[in-house]
Symmetry: C2
């Protein structure tokens, strides 16, 4: 029997993999599970996107251009202009979700064995894609106590070796909700230039910034035209995660030319998804405003509620729709399993993503969970009650 490859064996499992069968058992017992673990919003997809799909007038669902439909790429330039990001159509490549944009960026920019620095906690799937591409992630720890701010530049300097080829940030951040300031990004700019690195910036939550905070794109960092690769996706922006449409944007023509070869090898991004994504750019201001307001209110309910639970702490994130909450437990992996297996309140319980899955360093995040506020306010309020009751009942609770 032939063996599985080393990278196949090394691929990390999802942070909630252990929880899935336990949740299945809970469901089988008739317990209702409130999912705080996932980034799948309940927000409606814009009506214009659904209409575009319902009204397709094609009789052959043919390949699109490998770099994406010209019409969609054109409209994306207008979309980016709304956020003061000035890019040409030729600098935009449509990808199969944000995941493929990461993958192409990793393939084009890094050799197997190269190192990239990523502030942790970070989106767990980065590890998987890095493993697939043979890239080594060097984590730089941001801490709850500092509100998950970008670690000081001196800490970055310490990690840079001859193998370091890039820095990867997610802004606003999944899982912390942290929004990097222009000042922080300018510090990053200096270090990127000094060491001739790529700066990969995942900005899929750009539109979800709160408290009048403004998002500053890495693409607008001066002097980094050849260094910045933007990763983007419509999944969260328009609540259309399933259509698998992302983008890779760079002003570095060599990166785009190289990415184009990987794009040609997989022929084309999804046609139907592009039709939906293209129409979504015309979603009304009313839609955008109402989604923003909804997440803003959910954040307030969640974070204020969390901080009222004895022993629980959460920063008030300025962006995205997640928070990394600190719980009065020693091992949140155990707590997340226990709450599904051994606890329910009014026949309901919670599924949360244990913090450790978002850290590459060992022994970190053990008292943290990532909570996504992608559920309606009623469910969020119920979840807060369940969490409070569960922590009261949990045998492993710290005082």
């Amino acid at each position: 029997m032939p063996s599985i490859s080393i990278r196949g064996n090394d691929m990390p499992s999802s942070p909630i993999r252990k929880l899935v069968p336990i949740a299945e058992e809970a469901k089988a017992r008739g317990v209702d599970i409130i999912h705080l673990n996932i980034g799948q919003p309940d927000i409606q997809t814009p009506a214009v996107a659904l209409e575009a799909i319902k009204n397709i007038d094609r009789t052959v669902l043919e390949y699109s251009h490998s770099a994406g439909m010209p019409e969609y790429r054109r409209k994306l330039t207008q979309y980016y202009k709304r956020f003061d990001i000035d890019v040409d159509q030729e600098e935009i490549m449509v990808t199969t979700g944000g995941s493929e944009a990461f993958m192409f960026a990793f393939f084009c920019c890094f050799n197997p064995g190269d190192e990239i620095i990523i502030p942790e906690p970070f989106y767990a799937n980065y590890s998987g894609i890095a493993t697939a591409a043979g890239i080594n992630i060097k984590p730089i720890t941001s801490s709850f106590e500092d509100g998950f701010a970008l670690p000081p530049m001196a800490e970055f300097e310490k990690l840079i070796t001859t193998k370091t080829k890039g820095i990867f940030i997610c802004n606003p951040n999944n899982p912390t909700g942290y929004l990097y300031s222009t000042e922080e990004l300018n510090h990053l700019r200096d270090i990127v230039l000094e060491h001739d690195l790529y700066l990969l910036s995942d900005e899929v939550y750009r539109e979800f910034c709160y408290d009048d905070c403004k998002h500053f794109s890495a693409l607008n960092l001066e002097g980094l035209e050849n260094n910045v690769v933007l990763i983007d996706s419509v999944s969260k922006r328009y609540s259309e995660c399933g259509i698998r449409i992302g983008t890779l944007v760079s002003r570095n023509k060599e990166v785009i030319d190289s990415a184009m070869k990987f794009a040609q090898a997989r022929l084309s991004p999804p046609l139907l998804g592009q039709i939906a994504a293209c129409a979504s750019i015309d979603a009304s201001q009313e839609y955008t405003d109402s989604v923003h307001k909804e997440y803003y209110e959910r954040r307030n309910i969640l974070v204020e509620g969390l901080n009222k639970i004895p022993g629980v702490k959460s920063m008030k994130p300025k962006g995205a729709f997640y928070t990394m909450a600190k719980l009065p437990v020693k091992d949140s992996d155990d707590f997340c399993q226990w709450i599904l297996r051994d606890f329910s309140y009014d026949n309901q319980t919670l599924m949360m993503a244990p913090g450790s899955g978002f850290y590459s360093s060992r022994y970190l995040g053990n008292d943290e969970v990532r909570i996504a506020y992608v559920l309606n306010q009623t469910d969020l309020k119920k979840a807060l009650v369940i969490l409070e009751k569960a922590l009261e009942a949990y045998p492993g609770r710290l005082i």
Copy 2:
């Protein structure tokens, strides 16, 4: 300025990359181009697929399961049963096109530096995906004179080293149209077992076999349960290339478990495409029969027509919808450029894929072109006239 990665630089360009700007110039001069170069059929997508898309009743286009929608995977088991392939739902993973199924198979089965043997000429994108995954392709040449039959097993044995970890076949074959016999596949079986190799089998053209020939799936080779990985796609089967839905099928549970981790890292295959693909399984027998009849007639027109042109030769392929034709030229790259740049007949000309792009060995395929019969019979007949006139006028024509 940071540099592009080695694999980014090594990625092969599309075999028609040089032709694209020349074709653009021809179009700008008002010349109409008949595309014999591409695998994008003009056949209509089944009405049931288009209806399923038009009738979606969802309001959130959410992620599907990483391994694909359970309903679609269930229906796929029924689809495969029609072809006497007996597989469980758990042995099927839905992928983003056949390309992603290749990619996952390469990632799971092979380490960077491993070698896989592929009969050449082969589908050009295999090279790109192998380069992305760091796998070395060792070509084994099948020849026009032998009708592109599988080379003798002794030739395979010669290529096997300690680094050889797999054999990859495409059956029926793109670009040759060759359909492997059960006998040939049984020979392959022996060699795969002897050397403990993976056998990757791309069977996307399964339904396009002619002259009452029957397709034999690698999944039905006895004793290879742990060795065979099937690559499949609905792109050509239902003329829905743009929806990007493929499958990876294996009875080797370790392969499926490993592929699942790569699948989770990219979250989910396209939802809308899965809805279309799932509905397509219910396409009427009338649809399937009419598509088959149409390709059969096109093949006959094309191949008989090619063999009537002085100096041109084509085998009569038993499957798929391509043929590798021999032309009376020394350099088909040059001829394919010349016909676009310097020739037209009744203001029309041809775009064909030069043969060399389908060979990994140097200096092969220089007098061959791949012609896809994915156009209507009228256009195919016109194309034959243009090819004959062009060969008469071509300065580089061999006697």
